[in-house]
């Protein structure tokens, strides 16, 4: 295969279980020689947002930022969240089964050169600035993703 292997992923979701799936796929693909791009949009921004980040803008943006905190530790589960008990239980179950934590997987992804792109439009809507992002990443729009996706053999939406 002479063509460079690429995988492009849209992370739309902000739940811990979906972020785990995205990070396992990203690190796995990077380990298999794929150049990986993860485009974080909407709730998916929470994966790369600082946990202490405060939304900028008007009352609505700040209210949304208060209810939609960034960072791995604030992520709910997509099912059986049980007012925040679910993620704690799942973290314990993952520890017991020696599954790598989300934080370690994110570090591994960065170490393997996984390229994160933050969606400029959703950052603007939600009052997130580049300084609120916790990982080194590019800020881009739909063309940035589609340009990358067009060159990819694998494209995913999580």
């Amino acid at each position: 295969m002479s063509e460079e292997k690429r995988m492009s992923m849209i992370l739309f979701s902000g739940e811990m279980d979906r972020a785990l799936a995205a990070l396992v796929l990203a690190t796995g693909a990077a380990s298999m020689g794929y150049k990986v791009t993860v485009f974080c949009t909407f709730w998916g921004l929470n994966l790369i947002k600082k946990s202490e980040a405060v939304a900028h803008g008007g009352v609505l943006e700040r209210m949304m930022g208060f209810m939609n905190k960034g960072g791995l530790e604030h992520m709910p589960l997509s099912r059986m969240n049980m007012l925040g008990v679910g993620p704690r239980l799942l973290r314990k179950m993952m520890r017991d089964k020696k599954v790598t934590s989300l934080g370690d997987l994110l570090d591994t992804a960065l170490e393997l050169g996984v390229h994160f792109v933050a969606c400029q439009m959703s950052m603007n809507v939600m009052g997130v600035t580049k300084e609120d992002l916790a990982v080194p990443c590019e800020v881009g729009g739909v063309a940035t993703f589609l340009n990358e996706a067009g060159k990819s053999q694998i494209t995913l939406f999580v």
Partner: protein, 94 residues
């Protein structure tokens, strides 16, 4: 050349069934998906073409994953030993 330390594949070695010898060994016991694949790809990167890496893991998905990893990356799977839950893969770097 290194001989793989015990107990990885020790029984087969005693019986003289092991013909592949590794230049480097990697212990991924106790690790869950995707870490064995992440670690083995890091280890292979540091090796020279033709050298053989022995990777041991007890993750139930490892056997299928190491075969798939080799098929995708083009590295050669020289052999796969099993001892209970443990799987040891011998991979030649291309």
């Amino acid at each position: 050349m290194l001989v793989i330390p015990c107990p990885l594949g020790a029984r087969e070695r005693e019986r003289g069934e092991v013909t592949v010898q590794a230049h480097k060994t990697l212990d991924c016991r106790g690790m869950a998906c995707p870490m064995p694949i992440v670690k083995l790809s890091k280890a292979i990167k540091e090796m020279s073409p033709g050298e053989i890496l022995a990777v041991s893991a007890d993750d139930p998905g490892f056997e299928a994953d190491v075969k798939a990893w080799c098929e995708t990356t083009g590295n050669q799977l020289k052999g796969l030993e099993s001892e209970g839950e443990l799987r040891t893969a011998y991979i030649a770097k291309i």
